[in-house]
Symmetry: D2
């Protein structure tokens, strides 16, 4: 990924990179050893060497154990056991980092919802002013979107993989199921009912949850960039440290965080589509669809983290201009209050008099968010 | 969709078609009336007329109420309330039809798993024979995939939509939240915390669950068509009624159900990608992304149903040839038993002696499936 | 597709529907007959019956010839020859209809570019006012996008398909190549070097060209809806006949055409992704990927036509407000002219004095468009 | 991308990586200087620093010129001019590397087509043996697919970008068009009629051409892995250097190159979908869609190169087993020759007697390939 640090925070980039994968692969082998009563010591392993060696076997796990001294390394396992478990470990280690950024986004949305519970602004439908709403209600909607997406992410079961070459655990003889259970416990991953070498529902589910999370963040970013337009001017991302500026156009306050969020979300969608497309895998191990997952999963994780981090920054530093929101409401010279006048039967209605259940909705959202935590 | 009946069973096509949408829209208006103490009578409404009239407003709901006699029709609602609730009703009415086909697929997989719990066959990795497994274990894996996908489908909350033009329920005054609750109860849909006009997590989640369900079916279809190859010959779809035949090549037994399943799954993926891409909707109502959902959702539902129905037919009529499975195991002249010999230390090992936990895995799967029901 | 007429003009819907497919299939059989010296008469054929019968063979062509009286119908052909050639005929008959709408879009863009060659407005980057540009230059960019996309569409070769069951034309004996050439001539389709039963480059190319055309239209629609925002107010779609209005909010002027264009483009992308995903087809005829193409291709054609028609309407009726463009330029109180002052060294610079090559670019675009025709 | 070297040859990885992008960006600045009569010297620039600095501006070009000593660097240009031109340079430098691999694939297909022009094998439709064909005709079809895809790649115009902040070249005063023309000449890129900051047809076209190329390679890989199945055994990838082997299952000959090709193609499709989705960019410069292109384009290029390289290796080392092809033809006990008997009226027909125009088609393909070069 060119210019990765532009999009992805360093910690998340590291958690989804080469070294993190190799560490997870090593963790699998060590835990598999422990599950069979072996104490192993991993040699130094170079990701690039695994990759190069993998060109003749089709995956980077094949070369993993050649440098180990002890007997019994990898016993009962096949390459896909290593890679699939490593993928789940990479996910389990990255998801909390993404989660922390999502928490930050949700916290910021919650703050804005509470703070602007009664701040009137124009509701816009098809980008036309329609009726008054509040900025609090808009932010409450953002909050619910993040929470709903978060629930989907949290619901993805991360399961250990151990099946051996045919998914039967034959090489482990009568110990197969016991080793499987101990391995799951060692790695604190769920134990599957069956090996899932070619049953990729959980991988696709993770990809879909990431795409939905990124899309929920993109919705917020989209609203931000629309509200930040020169002609609308209702919010602006922080200008601290020259952020959002332009060397040749110093008057600009570009919605940089929103733009990066949107860019990341597009990338997550692309990566997630690879994972959905990889559900159809042949027989007991696939020739192609499986191998396509590693990069797609890494990228979906990294870019969802990037989307969340950029949006969190944007929201944390967001400047809100309630007076501009109020002024925009007057742009139509009262036309926007037409329905209000008709419904209430009054000749003069203030926007704040026609907010319906906006405040109550904000309260419901904040309550639901509290309960979720 | 040209030749829709080739892919989609008539009942499912009807449940996702024009008339079903209009019925759901009418049901919304009637229930909204009841929720406000009104007894309404719907006039005859032509889908095509709604569509034509919709070209000037951008959606088919705008023309819905023009022919109604009573006052108070549509009170408090906006076009998107109608369409979104209708979408959820269409989904709720179609999902059981899809579910029945998925039940049929699962039942067939379960039967095959139990019946062939101990039928040896070659496990194939990268399409090469690797070690022995059983057909029962393969079918048990299919079963788990369908169950996992089914759980994702069942987990999608289907929620009523009611927010009015700005999502504030302003036109309903103090009654807003009460009407919302009553409407949800009337239609037996969930009540949302907030209107979700531009928070499309649940729509995208439904699309993703459908794509994952279809992909799980495609995995089974892929295995079927590979096993049905002339050179493999381990299964065949039923030839009853000339099925799978070819006028010019009467010896053929084409895996027709598998092929249709795969074709449908591809269509579901395309439709689902539209729904994931529609998460970013502007402000309080979107100009484009929302309107893209209706067709995509209908098609994702219809084609998932089509995939399930075709695969159910294929599995229900499946002929299984255990003797061919056994013969294929011998194709490598015993090479496939190399690991078995090494691990067991014996010179001669029968495939049935090296099945590891295959049988136990089948039992676990059947148990998990029983518990699920 | 629910509410198809909302999105797709009737003529284009017809050209991509069931009856059009069956007509194209019949045209293939008649032309194949003529190419072999036979005069055939087609019986009445019901698309729904073909679809139903197709469930046992996996495609609707199998039942096509059962009702014909003459001998020799379909001689030498396989079902895929019928379907593939029909697909190309459907495309060839629909593309001019799409092309006429694209011509209309281009003509409107050209008119706007010429008319507003020197109308200053704010250039917006990251949705922030950056520097002055002209509306003419914006419209010239739209025009170039349509022309470039059009060239891609025009470049797709539409080829006849004839290979027989194995792609060898074996059933035609020594006449194979001659019949192939005559069939191509009869149908005015290109003759392929080889049958392309599982070489789908041209189908994917057509899908990609349609997605790019729709995306180019979406770019224009996106600009329109942004310019039509209440707070920007630089353009509005026609309000004739109540278009863009809202029953409850009569002050609104919704960018309906833009919204429909965007919705259609999303659908085209989804359909096109199915076609790209269908490139990998097995051996001499595929089990699934091929069957997925019919609906995807029909929909990609229909919705590209829908996108073009909706945008053409929007542009044909577009109201442009140059005074509002001018007023918006003043919103930043001159800040937007900062670069102009620095570069020119003057204290006061008018937007019209800092338009660089905008006018020349417009002229170049109009010239390039003229040359293209 | 984890384990990038597993999928992408080092040279192609380098050509699409961070350093290549920075080099291209520097080349733009140097050429822009020359186009204005300036001789510049680039300082050392770290990609990571550009990325980090870019987080506050939203792109890595903003920090590019801060370390340069000379005046006039970057004069008249905007960040997007740098990035877009750099993208085109990256493409122009990577495409020949991809092209060389595609040449290798085509050459191998051509060799196989010529060598096996008359080698009979079973044509398979829906994975069932249908009629005889030749391996030469299959390989000729592969060749045509690569050639057709190659033509699409070669047809993508790669154009320089120079428009300045508003796309008007205002900062260059009267010199704008002349500088644009000289810059294009300096960099040997095409000169566009207009700046294309938000007219992304050519970027999407490049993405589509890459996806189609990768899909054409995937078709070949799919056939290879099907033919290499244990039960089919008609081809095998080279076993040289342990390739395709398995540590635990030494009898295996995994179709590793085919699997990697398929995995790469899936990734290209995902990346290409991002580029198609990025066609709709706002106004004069986009907030998100543009920024999504850099990674997607790099990945589409790298993985298409990876797909081509893996397939080229697989084909170059391919072992072909004509006797097995012949034996497989007999598997149906002559049933496969049913049509042949009916059509020829003979009781006994050899497969080689019923190959129709297979040989002639091979000759046509080889001729067309020769003409193309």
């Amino acid at each position: 990924m060119p210019f990765e640090e532009l999009f992805v925070p360093p910690q998340i980039a590291a958690a989804t990179g080469d070294d993190a994968w190799v560490q997870a692969m090593v963790d699998f082998e060590l835990a598999l050893g422990r599950a069979q009563g072996l104490v192993l010591t991993a040699p130094a392993i170079s990701p690039a060497e695994l990759a190069r060696a993998g060109r003749s076997t089709g995956n980077p796990a094949a070369a993993l154990v050649s440098g180990w001294d002890e007997d019994g390394v990898h016993r009962g396992a096949t390459s896909q056991d290593v890679m699939d478990t490593a993928a789940m470990l990479v996910a389990r280690r990255t998801l909390p980092l993404i989660g922390a950024e999502l928490d930050g986004v949700a916290a910021a949305c919650g703050r804005l919802a509470a703070q602007h519970r009664d701040t009137p602004m124009a509701a816009r439908t098809l980008l036309q002013q329609a009726l008054p709403t509040t900025f609090g209600l808009k932010a409450a909607g953002w909050l619910m979107g993040v929470d709903e997406a978060r629930d989907l992410l949290d619901a993805v079961p991360l399961r250990v993989q151990l099946g051996g070459a045919a998914g039967t655990l034959a090489a482990l003889g009568a110990d197969g199921l016991a080793v499987l259970a101990r391995l799951a416990a060692e790695l604190e991953l769920e134990e599957p009912v069956l090996p899932w070498h070619t049953r990729r529902v959980r991988v696709a589910q993770l990809g879909a949850a990431l795409a939905i999370a990124a899309g929920s963040l993109e919705k917020i970013a989209l609203d931000l960039k629309l509200m930040a337009q020169t002609e609308v001017g209702e919010v602006a991302e922080s200008a601290e440290g020259g952020r959002g500026g332009s060397s040749t156009l110093p008057h600009k306050r570009n919605p940089v965080g929103a733009a990066l969020t949107i860019a990341c979300a597009a990338g997550v969608r692309g990566a997630s589509s690879v994972l959905t497309g990889a559900l159809a895998q042949e027989h007991e191990r696939a020739a192609g669809a499986w191998q396509a997952e590693w990069e797609a999963l890494s990228r979906a994780l990294a870019l969802t983290g990037g989307a969340a981090a950029s949006l969190r920054e944007a929201l944390d530093g967001l400047e809100v201009f309630p007076e501009r929101m109020r002024a925009n409401l007057d742009l139509t010279g009262g036309l926007i209050m037409g329905e209000a006048k008709r419904v209430t039967g009054k000749d003069v209605v203030e926007p704040t008099d026609y907010l319906g259940s906006a405040g109550a909705f904000v309260d419901r959202a904040l309550e639901a968010h509290e309960e979720r935590r």
